[in-house]
C-alpha cells in the first residue's frame, strides 16, 4: 500500500453553474508509483485537466471536490487546511501547464521566479537560491544560465520557457510532477526535446509523473501506464503496451484507430462518429453508448462499472465485462 506515491480514491468533482451542478469528474480512482509515468488521456471535455486541478485543490471558485480521497504518501490532501495544502504545492507536488508563456509572470525576471520556490519552501537564502536556480537551468539543458536568469519571459522562446517551467517545477525536488499537456503548445522538434528531458528527469530524480495529454503519440513514447478518460470517467486503464496492442474499450479502440500514423498510407481514416456530449446533457447508461457501434440495449440503460479484467488492467464496458465473466467460467 505505502509504495503508492499518489493514491486517488473515488474522486468526484462538481461545478456549480447556472445550468445546475455539473459533475466533471466522477468516481475516478488511480495511483501513481515512484519512478513511473502515468498517462491520463482524453479528448477535450473529458475531465482530465479538472482531475489534475482537483489533486492540488486548484479548482476555480465554482468547483468543488464532493467525494473521494487524495492520498499523497498516505496523507489525505482533501482534508488539509489551506496552509498545509500550500506547503504541499510546489514542494511535494509540482505542476506544469500547457501554455508556458502565460504561466510565467511577464513582469518578473526568470531568475526571480525560479528562486521563489526554494526560498519559500526550503528557506534558502538569496545566494543559495541563486546557485540552485542556475544549477536547475543547466540541468534542463539551457546554456548560459546566468544570462537566462536576468531575462524576462517574453525574451524566451516557447521551448525555452517550457524548460524554465520544468526547472521551476523540479527546483524543490518534488515527489510527484503533474504535467498538463506540457508539449501541446510546442513545435514537433521542440516537443521531442522536452519529452526527452522529462524522461531523463524521471530517471535521475526518481519521481512519479502524471502526464495529462490528448496526444496518443506522446503517451506511447513516454508512459508506463495509461488511463483513458471519457466524460469524467476512467473507461480503461492498462500498461502502455497492452493498451496499444490490445485495447478493450470501444472508445479506446476508436481513439487509437483514428490517430493518423506515418507510413500507414491509408486512404480513409477510421473515426468515431458524433461528438462528446455536453456535461449538462449526459446520456443515461454508458456515456459512450450513443457513439458506440457495438452498443447493446443494456448499454443505454445501465452504466457499466470499472472492473478488473486482468492483473493491473481495468475496463468500464458491459461487453468486456461479460466476456470476462464467461472467460472465468
Amino acid at each position: 500500500m505505502t509504495d503508492k506515491l499518489l493514491d486517488v480514491k473515488n474522486l468526484k468533482t462538481e461545478f456549480h453553474t447556472d445550468k445546475g451542478n455539473l459533475t466533471a469528474v466522477n468516481d475516478v480512482s488511480f495511483y501513481v508509483n515512484n519512478e513511473e509515468i502515468v498517462g491520463l488521456v482524453g479528448e477535450s471535455g473529458s475531465g482530465k485537466s479538472v482531475t489534475s486541478l482537483s489533486l492540488l485543490r486548484l479548482l476555480p471558485e465554482n468547483g468543488e471536490i464532493s467525494e473521494g480521497e487524495i492520498l499523497l504518501e498516505g496523507r489525505n490532501l482533501r482534508e488539509m487546511n489551506k496552509k498545509e495544502i500550500r506547503s504541499i504545492r510546489g514542494s511535494d507536488i509540482a505542476i506544469i501547464f500547457q501554455d508556458p508563456m502565460s504561466s510565467l509572470n511577464p513582469v518578473l525576471r526568470v531568475g526571480e521566479q525560479l528562486m521563489e520556490c526554494t526560498k519559500l519552501h526550503l528557506k534558502y537564502t538569496n545566494d543559495q537560491a541563486r546557485k540552485h536556480a542556475i544549477d536547475m537551468i543547466k540541468r534542463v539543458g539551457i546554456p548560459v544560465p546566468e544570462d537566462i536568469m536576468n531575462r524576462y519571459p517574453h525574451q524566451l522562446s516557447g521551448g525555452m520557457s517550457q524548460r524554465i517551467m520544468i526547472a521551476m517545477a523540479m527546483s524543490c525536488n518534488p515527489k510527484l510532477l503533474i504535467a498538463d499537456e506540457p508539449t501541446t503548445a510546442l513545435d514537433v522538434t521542440i516537443q521531442a526535446q522536452v519529452m526527452e528531458l522529462m524522461l531523463e528527469l524521471k530517471e535521475k530524480n526518481k519521481i512519479g509523473v502524471l502526464l495529462i495529454t490528448h496526444d496518443l503519440g506522446v503517451v506511447a513514447e513516454m508512459c508506463d501506464r495509461v488511463m483513458v478518460m471519457y466524460c469524467g470517467r476512467i473507461v480503461e486503464m492498462a500498461d502502455v503496451n497492452s493498451l496499444f496492442k490490445n485495447p478493450l474499450h470501444p472508445y479506446t479502440k476508436g481513439l487509437i484507430a483514428s490517430v493518423p500514423k506515418i507510413g500507414r498510407n491509408s486512404d480513409v481514416l477510421p473515426y468515431i462518429s458524433g461528438r462528446v456530449p455536453d456535461l449538462s446533457q449526459l446520456p443515461t447508461g454508458c456515456k459512450f453508448a450513443p457513439r458506440c457501434s457495438l452498443a447493446i440495449d443494456k448499454c443505454h440503460i445501465e452504466e457499466p462499472k470499472l472492473i478488473y479484467v486482468g492483473e493491473n488492467r481495468q475496463c468500464r464496458c458491459h461487453l468486456v465485462n461479460e466476456r470476462g465473466e464467461n472467460h472465468e467460467q
Binding site: 521551448g159 525555452m160 513545435d187 514537433v188 503519440g217 506515418i262 473515426y271
Partner: protein
C-alpha cells in the same frame, strides 16, 4: 492553358517588427523567395513549424496580404498587382478554411447567414435560392436544416469546422486554402473532418493548399508536400518520396520527431539542438545551419538554391549539391 492553378515566383514578404528612430527598422522575414506551383486538382501540403511562413504563404495566394516582390499567378493571370476591387471577383475561386473553428465564425450570425455570405457577395441569387443552396451545402458536410438556425457557439469544434467548409464550398471554388484546419480538433474528430475534405475533393474536383504542422495528418490527404523553414521552401516532392526518401536534414528531423502512437515502435530519433532562430535576425547562409548536424563551412556562407534532385523532387541543401 497550363496545368498550374497557382504559381508563385520568387515571392518575398516581410512585416515590420519594430520601428526604431535612429537605427534601421527591423523586419520579420516571413517569405524569402518562395517559388512553387499548385497543379489543378492536386493537394499540395505545406508543412513547417511556427514562424516558418506557411500561413503567410496561404494569405499571399488569396491576396489577403500583398507581396513585397515576386509574382502570384492564378489561372495563368498575374494577379500580383490587382487592386482590392479587381481581386474581389477572384475571391469566389479561392476560399479559405481557417485553423480556429471558434474564431472564424461570426458569433452574432445564424449559421444559414454565415454559409450564405459568399453567395450574397458573389451571386445575385434570390433569398429562397440562397437558403436552399445553404441547406444543400450543410447536408454535404453532414449537418441538416435544423442546424441552419443555430449560432456558432452551439456547435462543437468539429461541427464548426464543417460549417467553415460549407461556407468555403458555397461559391464552387477551384482552390481551397486550408490553414491548419484540423489542428484545433480532437483526434477522433480530426479524422471525420479529414475524410470530408477527401470526399469533397473527389465530388467537386477541388484543388487544395493544405497548411499544417503535423506530418502525420498531411500524409493522408496530400499528393505533394512542401517543407518550409524560416520563410524558405527547403524541400518539395511527392508524398511517397518525402516519407521514403527525405533529403533535407530538417525534413529528416521533422519526420523523426513526430511521436508515434505505438509503444513497440523503436527508432532512432534525431533530436535537434536549440531553438528555431528568430525570423527577425535570420542566420546568414542556410537558415537551418544553427541546428543542422551536417552543417559545413559553405552552409554558413550562402543559401543553397532549391534544385531538382530526382523526378519531382526539389531540395535546397548544399549536401545534395556536392
Amino acid at each position: 492553358m497550363s496545368n498550374n492553378l497557382v504559381e508563385l515566383k520568387d515571392v518575398r514578404k516581410t512585416f515590420l517588427a519594430s520601428k526604431t528612430l535612429f537605427r534601421s527598422n527591423k523586419y520579420v522575414h516571413a517569405l524569402n523567395g518562395v517559388s512553387l506551383e499548385i497543379k489543378n486538382g492536386e493537394t499540395l501540403s505545406i508543412v513547417g513549424e511556427s514562424g516558418c511562413g506557411k500561413s503567410t504563404l496561404g494569405r499571399v495566394i488569396n491576396k489577403l496580404l500583398d507581396v513585397d516582390s515576386g509574382e502570384v499567378w492564378f489561372e495563368d493571370k498575374n494577379i500580383t498587382n490587382y487592386a482590392t476591387s479587381q481581386i474581389r471577383p477572384f475571391r469566389n475561386k479561392m476560399q479559405m478554411v481557417f485553423q480556429d473553428p471558434y474564431g472564424s465564425l461570426n458569433p452574432r450570425m445564424k449559421i444559414k447567414d454565415i454559409v450564405a455570405e459568399p453567395l450574397l457577395v458573389h451571386t445575385d441569387m434570390s433569398k429562397k435560392d440562397r437558403y436552399n443552396t445553404v441547406i444543400e451545402l450543410l447536408e454535404t458536410v453532414g449537418l441538416n436544416e435544423r442546424h441552419a438556425q443555430g449560432y456558432a457557439h452551439e456547435f462543437s469544434g468539429g461541427q464548426r469546422q464543417r460549417i467553415g467548409i460549407a461556407r468555403a464550398l458555397s461559391v464552387n471554388p477551384k482552390l481551397i486554402i486550408a490553414d491548419e484546419p484540423v489542428s484545433a480538433l480532437d483526434v477522433s474528430i480530426q479524422a471525420q473532418v479529414i475524410n470530408i475534405f477527401k470526399r469533397l475533393q473527389r465530388d467537386f474536383n477541388l484543388t487544395y493548399l493544405f497548411i499544417s504542422h503535423d506530418l502525420s495528418v498531411v500524409e493522408i490527404i496530400s499528393d505533394r508536400i512542401g517543407v518550409m523553414y524560416l520563410g524558405y521552401l527547403v524541400e518539395i516532392t511527392t508524398k511517397e518520396e518525402l516519407y521514403k526518401n527525405p533529403k533535407h536534414p530538417y525534413t529528416q528531423a521533422l519526420l523523426s520527431a513526430v511521436p508515434i502512437a505505438d509503444p513497440s515502435h523503436k527508432r532512432n530519433r534525431i533530436i535537434l539542438k536549440g531553438d528555431i532562430p528568430s525570423p527577425i535576425d535570420m542566420p546568414i547562409g542556410c537558415p537551418f545551419n544553427t541546428r543542422c548536424m551536417y552543417a559545413m563551412e559553405q552552409c554558413f556562407k550562402t543559401m543553397p538554391q532549391l534544385v531538382e534532385v530526382g523526378s519531382d523532387h526539389k531540395v535546397a541543401c548544399h549536401l545534395n549539391l556536392s
